[in-house]
């Protein structure tokens, strides 16, 4: 038992070191000067906006779309997935006024979800590139142009992805934590990994993809709940790069209550579990650059989570007096270093995004003990429902995020 726990502690140390390296490289990448990448000619782009009952937010989104400054041909498709609220009315009023804006009513079908709607959008459009924006997103005017410039100028690039900022960050502690989480993810996983391994991850919004790529793979996987992660793996398997463009920014709304967050993250986690299942079924996911993504998935959703669960159980049993033994490993220091690394990532992200404030600093100090621990419950819950659905041979339904 001692040896097993010692090995676990050592592996944990390796993971901590890896994330420390990613933090530093991410800070370095984000601090560089943006190279100028103006094109002589800009390719045509279709923006696809899947929407289902987005009446609360779609007006602002379409308003932001009209302000996009893109030098090439641009068409915007609001893909109305059987909305029952005022989404259709709002979309229709915009499409009547703006020549390049189209309100498309997606036929009802199964399975429900973003992937199927996007596939329909792709079938009725024909540009060289397509961009995806969620219905609650307000991209900055130059966001799209920067993404296209990146994908057109980087060798072997098949897609590109920008940053997602939280528009309702100041709403409450939860939204601040979500915002910080996004900032850290984008600093480490996007910028750090891009600089080190030339791997980027699509985020489902504020992204562009070459149409030829999606045509080659036959469209989105309609059963994938995390269609962005799935497409990332596919593109990487094809040998394509996904440059990360932090200067391309979109602003989106994040859940303002735990209940809504729970539903959203359960879907995301189940999507990643689906991806994990796919990964373990084929050796293709462990070759070349895809290995980085695969290892990332395994590190987080298998290794790290399992270790974390063991550590929590161990701590609880020790606290209650059920489990007492000495381990040849400095467990208190391991815990402290984990806390330091996690908190350093949060403050580094704030420094890079210039989002330091007394409240954000306070949130940074307590996130490890609060928001981060929520992840374990989320994972266990997601795993439970995923296995349950698999046993019953049921399709996992798409749980739409409630807007505010």
């Amino acid at each position: 038992m001692n040896n097993i726990l010692f090995i676990i502690s050592t592996l944990f140390l390796i993971i901590l070191t890896y994330y420390s390296v990613l933090t530093i490289w991410g800070i370095y990448y984000r601090g560089r000067e943006l190279p100028s990448r103006f094109l002589d000619k800009y390719p045509s782009v279709d923006i696809l906006i899947p929407a289902h009952n987005e009446g609360k937010v779609i007006g602002k989104t379409l308003d932001a779309m009209t302000k996009i400054k893109y030098p090439g041909e641009l068409q915007i498709y609001l893909l109305d997935d059987n909305s029952q609220d005022e989404t259709s009315t709002i979309a229709e009023s915009y499409s009547k006024l703006y020549k390049n804006m189209h309100h498309i009513r997606v036929p009802i079908g199964k399975p429900k979800g973003k992937s199927r709607v996007l596939n329909y959008g792709l079938s009725i459009s024909n540009s060289e590139y397509f961009a995806v924006y969620d219905a609650d997103n307000c991209p900055e005017p130059k966001a799209l142009r920067l993404l296209i410039e990146a994908v057109e100028t980087f060798p072997d690039a098949m897609a590109s992805v920008g940053y997602v900022k939280t528009i309702n960050e100041g709403k409450n502690w939860l939204t601040r934590m979500i915002s910080l989480e996004f900032q850290v993810f984008q600093l480490l996983m996007q910028s750090g990994r891009w600089l080190l391994f030339k791997t980027g991850s699509l985020t489902g919004t504020n992204m562009v993809v070459r149409r030829t790529v999606i045509e080659k793979i036959g469209g989105y996987d309609v059963y994938a709940l995390a269609e962005d992660a799935e497409l990332t793996m596919t593109i990487t398997r094809l040998g394509g790069l996904i440059p990360v463009v932090p200067e391309s920014r979109t602003w989106e709304q994040e859940p303002e209550s735990l209940r809504v967050l729970l539903k959203q993250r359960t879907r995301w986690l189940q999507g990643n579990l689906y991806l994990l299942e796919k990964m373990f079924s084929s050796i293709q996911f462990f070759k070349g650059r895809v290995l980085v993504h695969s290892l990332q998935q395994i590190l987080i959703y298998v290794v790290f989570l399992v270790f974390l669960l063991i550590s929590h159980v161990w701590f609880a049993l020790g606290l209650l007096g059920y489990w007492k033994f000495s381990l040849a490993a400095p467990t208190l220091l391991i815990w402290y270093v984990s806390y330091i690394i996690y908190t350093s990532q949060l403050f580094s992200a704030q420094a890079v995004e210039k989002s330091f404030s007394p409240m954000n600093i306070f949130i940074g100090f307590i996130m490890y003990f609060t928001y981060a621990q929520f992840f374990i419950y989320l994972f266990v819950r997601s795993l439970f429902y995923y296995i349950k659905a698999k046993r019953r041979k049921e399709i996992i339904p798409w749980d739409k995020t409630i807007r505010f």
Binding site: I27, G31, L332
Partner: protein, 249 residues
Amino acid sequence: MKQAKWLMISILIQAIMICLSVTILETKILPFFLGSYLLFVFVLSRITRRKGFVLLVCVVLILALSFLFIGFLNGLDTPQQLIYILRHMFFTLNGVITYFTVYIAKRLEEDNERLKTKVDLLTSYVGDTKLLTEQEFQERMNLILKAMERREESGYLILFSLENIPSHTTATIYDTLTEKALQTFRNDYDLVGRKDDISFMVFLQNTNAVGLNIALDRYAENVKADLEMDVHEIIHEIQALGIAEGQVA
């Protein structure tokens, strides 16, 4: 709160930290702490803010991982681990405050320089003289030109250049020539302004070609009184303005 006040606060905290370190830290660690602190301040003052932040994060993480490694190697028990944790927290806090102190000071210095440059640019006159800055000259000339066009008057813009003057005397000659120009040409009516380090401009309003030559000859005479120089030789360009525009001067 203003940056200067933050700087004072951070310096005060630094002083407290140093006093604390001398009293709390063990004797064997103290030289390491003080040495690394001084080295950190020196390095931070030499590199940019971005690189400084990367360095700070590197130091915090490497120190933490080093202590963890020491913990593994030496099989530290819980109280000993706690001591290392407290040491790390102390070093981190000191590192963060040092970073802020150095960069607030640097930022104040940069702001000062930037503001000075901006003030110089916006000032109407060059230094203590009555020589107009380029910006002020252009603005006044544009105003006068509008009035001249309305009154159907003519004027001339003369550009003098010292490019052929030996460089070690340029600055001095420049001062003399511009002073003479200010004395010669009509005060508060005509304009004399700086273009760059070796050129200056004179704008004569409401005058014709005859008046221009009279003014230039008067100027040449005044200059000749002190300098062995014919000002006609340093005239780079004469531009006719107002209704005289396009005419040869």
